[in-house]
């Protein structure tokens, strides 16, 4: 029964990881911008959801809207007013990374200053587990997180394969020059990528605020997982990042079935090293020759 319990926990955690990793992978795959502040987007969405719900007393649907709008605005503003100028001045990959890293630190400290540096969580009965069978406890959040992730991925898949902007985003990740030749603006597509990628962290941020709780440094862990999942899934592969996120979440939990609990976090890096050594192209990435 412990195995089943850990598997159920792993699926919930994996669903959240998959969504955040897919957001990062979408941005990185399309724009080649190492958006380290993706973790900051997660933290902003989580804090504003918490604030709108418990501080302002909004209905949860409005609180979700506040979180979604804030995440999208933050991502787009960064793209327009930080990454675009750096790219215009032909800033290197490293310059972009440092700038993004700096924003992550600033956001963490701003959140700490505004909302306090302690732990916060959304009080909700949805996080309370009930014993569905002897030894197996599930909370409504388990099912909601998994269901929400499935819906988001189906919608994302439809968007990328059936809409003009979606096809443009896929094309951008393949060949930006060709996109330009077809009269599309890579800059505008980049903004769409940031908007969509930032929107994908919102469900994870909300479920984290309700389930495990948040602190201003919560974005670091998210970023770490997103990065690992992007590499394991294959750089540029959205499907790969999602599967890798799920794999990491499940593996983190199942590791505790036979190994000590301290191995839970290490398993992420074990998986990462395994892929770097034995399958550097990741789950669905293509092998490249440089």
């Amino acid at each position: 029964m412990l195995f089943l319990q850990l598997l159920a926990n792993g699926l919930q955690v994996g669903a959240i990881y998959a969504l955040t990793a897919a957001g990062f992978s979408l941005i990185f795959g399309s724009t080649k911008i190492f958006h380290f502040a993706h973790g900051a987007t997660f933290a902003i969405a989580a804090y504003l959801f918490h604030f709108a719900l418990t501080g302002l007393g909004f209905h949860w649907t409005f609180a979700v809207a506040v979180a979604a709008i804030s995440a999208v605005v933050f991502g787009v503003v960064l793209d327009r007013f930080m990454y675009a100028p750096i790219q215009r001045h032909e800033g290197s990959f490293f310059t972009v990374f440092v700038a993004s890293f700096g924003v992550g630190i600033v956001v963490q400290n701003l959140l700490g200053s505004v909302f306090g540096r302690g732990f916060m969580s959304v009080p909700t009965p949805l996080s309370n587990s009930v014993e569905v069978m002897p030894g197996l406890y599930l909370s409504p959040l388990n099912g909601l997180a998994i269901g929400c992730a499935v819906i988001c991925f189906v919608a994302l898949h439809y968007f990328l394969t059936h809409t003009f902007v979606g096809k443009g985003l896929r094309a951008l990740s393949e060949n930006p020059e060709l996109v330009r030749m077809f009269g599309l603006s890579p800059r505008r597509l980049s903004t769409y990528a940031f908007a969509l990628g930032s929107l994908l962290v919102v469900p994870g941020a909300i479920f984290t605020a309700a389930g495990t709780g948040i602190n201003p440094a919560v974005g670091h862990h998210v970023m770490l997982i997103s990065l690992a999942a992007t590499i394991v899934g294959g750089i540029g592969s959205l499907r790969g990042a999602a599967c890798a996120g799920l794999l990491i979440g499940v593996a983190e939990n199942l590791a505790m079935w036979k190994l000590g609990t301290q191995w839970s976090e290490a398993i992420t890096f074990a998986i990462l090293f395994f892929f770097i050594i034995f399958k550097p192209s990741g789950f669905f990435g293509r092998a490249t020759v440089s």
Binding site: L6, R117, S127, T212, G213, V218, G260, Q262
Partner: protein, 376 residues
């Protein structure tokens, strides 16, 4: 014109000499977590230290104004050493407040080498008592806290099976060692211990393991945001056993956390309603300033700064320089100190010995005392 110039010069000289006859400020340092997930502790520690400095300055205990220079450790040993280096080698302070077991152990070597007194009021690892004569503790250490809680849980509540969830650092290791040593002597057992990384935030799996251990008591040895996440996730995931911990549970966020209600924790025993003038002034002024009751951490850092004030005052009375070596010599020469909580004395190893109280989280903000145990 000449007269005007001369009078200006005379005024400037007069002003300069007036400044020079004023006593210099006296500075001490503090290495606290001011950012990161444990920054909440920094705010708490500072409130106690600042209040003590304010009282010392109001009373004119020293020849100059006492200032505290704060440096950020982020509760990380490496950052703590960098901060300590700056305080000792750049600022030249003779006395530094320290916090967190890992940070305190890391900076103790520099304290010993530079003959700078380092005083811990937050870390509780038992080996903090063995870090040299320049490292002092104004807080009872984990061996006292764990022992008191174990005795209460076993002897008063009849619990026998303990599970430990502990952060993988010197503090967690020391609590593991204490429980392994103490429980068998009481006829209880440590059924299982679960180590977690300091950065871990997901504990639903740990909760599943804890549930399968079927313990009477889950002892949580963590701190900062992480301990709140552990408690929430243990309860959310169906763990119904008695939750217990050490003084890290005295932070306001945990005291008001719904899932933590009923949890047991330990701190040094302080009678907040005491008529003792030092305690009364501390409690009254803290309440007036912050509109809430103080906790033992706040008292510890108030006491740490007050110890400095008392020692420096004695040194100045003897026309001695305020250095680490002189502060140490003066502490050894001083039998007792009037601190918050009453008259106390240091043991030879530089650690205060105080009775321990077991409290229950009851939503009042400071916990309800359920038992007081003498330190062993």
């Amino acid at each position: 014109m000449l007269r005007k110039t001369l009078s200006s010069i005379a005024f400037a000289i007069g002003l300069a000499s007036a400044v020079s006859v004023q006593a210099e400020d006296i500075e001490i340092g503090a290495v606290f977590p001011l950012s990161g997930p444990n920054a909440t502790y920094g705010d708490i520690f500072m409130s106690g230290a600042d209040l003590a400095a304010k009282h010392i300055n109001e009373d004119g205990m020293l020849s100059g104004n006492l200032n505290i220079l704060y440096e950020d450790s982020q509760a990380l040993p490496q950052q703590g050493v960098v901060a300590m280096n700056k305080l000792v080698n750049v600022e030249g302070v003779p006395f530094v407040l320290s916090a967190f077991t890992g940070v305190s152990k890391a900076l103790s070597t520099l304290a010993q080498r530079s003959q700078t007194v380092a005083v811990n009021g937050g870390g509780v690892g038992p080996d903090l008592a063995e870090l040299g004569e320049y490292f002092w503790n104004v807080i009872p250490l984990a061996n006292n806290e764990v022992g008191a809680l174990a005795r209460y849980a076993v002897e008063d509540l009849g619990h026998k099976r303990f599970t430990l969830v502990y952060v993988d650092d010197p503090l967690g290791e020391s609590i593991l060692n204490e429980l392994e040593k103490t429980l068998p002597t009481l006829g209880a057992e440590l059924v299982e211990s679960h180590s977690i990384a300091a950065s871990a935030q997901q504990f639903s799996g740990v909760a599943a393991r804890v549930r399968s251990d079927n313990p009477d008591v889950v002892y949580v040895a963590s701190y900062g945001s992480q301990q709140l996440q552990i408690v929430k996730q243990l309860r959310d995931n169906g763990v119904k056993a008695q939750i217990a911990s050490y003084s890290a549970f005295s932070v306001p966020e945990l005291q008001s956390q719904a899932e933590a209600q009923g949890a047991l924790f330990t701190t040094q025993s302080i009678e907040w309603g005491s008529d003792d003038p030092v305690t009364k002034r501390f409690v009254d002024d803290y309440k007036a300033e912050h509109n809430k009751n103080p906790t033992s951490y706040i008292a510890n850092y108030y006491n740490a700064v007050r110890v400095f004030g008392l020692l420096a005052q004695a040194l100045e009375a003897q026309n001695k320089e305020i250095t680490g070596a002189n502060l140490l010599a003066q502490r050894k020469a001083t039998e007792t100190f009037e601190l918050v909580g009453g008259e106390v004395s240091f043991q030879d190893n530089g650690t205060l010995l105080a009775p321990i109280q077991v409290l229950e989280v009851d939503g009042s903000g400071s916990g309800k005392v359920v038992s007081v145990k003498t330190a062993e």
